[in-house]
Amino acid sequence: MRVTEQIDALEIMGVNSASYLILPKILSSLFIFPVLVLFSMVLSIWGGWMAGMFTNCITSHDYLYGIQYAFRPFNITYALIKTEFFAFIIASISAYHGYYVNGGALEVGKASTRAVVYSNILILLFNVLLTQLLLT
């Protein structure tokens, strides 16, 4: 956006461009990522169940027993806590690199690569930290 002067245009109008552009992205990520994660949990468990049944590997009864056996509700909370951290990392790092990219199409490509790399590294790091903090 800076590349095509759209951020300048916002600033000129007197809009605080950083908060106007970045804040909604972070807020919506914080809100929608957990929903997506819950969605994927449900889907994967349901998918496993269907696959097990159709391939006759496991009976429906065994599967339902199995997924409840030694189930810890905290695992879900733990997943959601991690999700919130990751959501923040992904949204803020990408928005930051997007906001400050200068130059042309080439720099946009480089900036998105940087955003992905830095998000990945931070996610790995926080994954370790959060696991240590929450699960030990």
């Binding site: 095509t4 759209q6 300048d8 000129i12 109008m13 809009v15």
Partner: protein
């Protein structure tokens, strides 16, 4: 009225603007001319604070907008004043700077959404009025990617005038357009300037525009204010660099 007092700007030690003092009058179309790379865009961006000036002062009316001599805390105090002035200011960027996630109509309505508490029908009415001024009524629903270069410029003008600005700054409003459309845009800008008695600054290197609407013309050369006057005077000046620019002679070759 927009005034710059002895402003200078350099990038990484390379000076681009050198000690420029200018007065842009209200109700007039003020033109800034100069060859490509002479610093016209930088000057415009310094006036509106997109680049911070290294030295000097910028005033809108009698309100200080930038002052390089101020300390950090005083600059912070200036921020609210700046925000207010910016809401009275319409700017046309060299590349249009339309928001590409919005349609033409939404682009024009955007400033109203942000800064007024107008109701939706009022905003629509105003937006359609602005689009009519730039003869784009039929294009209201189009996305910005579906516009031609000239239509983009006209949309940007419509957006710039949406809030009835006191100041209108245009960076090469008619570059890359065919001569007829260029004239239409020049006339439109002059018309708006007269009608609302606003202060208009136009960057250009189009001599047609200079002759048509150059009520006041400033020639920037090597980052300095080289000459200023009216479009009548420009024909009779004996300023060598200006003549080279006007008649497009390669400097040194002469006649």
């Amino acid at each position: 009225m927009i005034e710059s007092v002895n402003i200078s700007k350099s990038f990484n030690g390379r000076p681009v603007l050198k000690n420029i003092s200018l007065l842009f009058e209200q109700g007039k179309t003020n033109l800034v001319i100069g060859e490509s790379g002479s610093g016209k865009t930088v000057l415009l961006k310094c006036l509106v604070g997109l680049f911070e000036i290294d030295e000097g002062q910028v005033l809108f009316g009698n309100r200080i907008f930038s002052d390089a001599a101020l300390g950090v805390s005083e600059k912070a105090k200036l921020k609210d004043e700046r925000q207010k002035i910016r809401q009275e200011l319409g700017m046309l960027f060299q590349g249009g700077a339309l928001f590409d996630s919005m349609s033409v109509l939404e682009n024009v309505m955007f400033p109203m959404r942000m800064f007024t508490d107008m109701k939706e029908p009022e905003m629509l009415e105003r937006a359609h009025f602005c689009l009519k001024r730039v003869k784009l009524s039929d294009a209201a629903k189009l996305q910005t990617s579906e516009l031609s270069g000239g239509m983009k410029k006209r949309t940007a003008i419509a957006r710039a005038i949406a809030l009835n600005p006191q100041y209108l700054l245009c960076d090469e409003p008619n570059s890359g357009l065919d001569p007829q459309t260029a004239v239409v845009i020049d006339d439109l800008i002059q018309e708006i300037t007269k009608e609302y008695n606003i202060t208009t600054i136009i960057n250009t290197h189009d001599m047609n525009s200079v002759m048509e609407i150059g009520e006041k013309v400033v020639f920037i050369y090597e980052g300095k204010k080289w000459w200023e006057g009216t479009n009548r005077e420009i024909l009779f000046t004996n300023n060598r660099e200006l003549n080279d620019f006007v008649y497009a002679y390669k400097s040194g070759r002469g006649m």
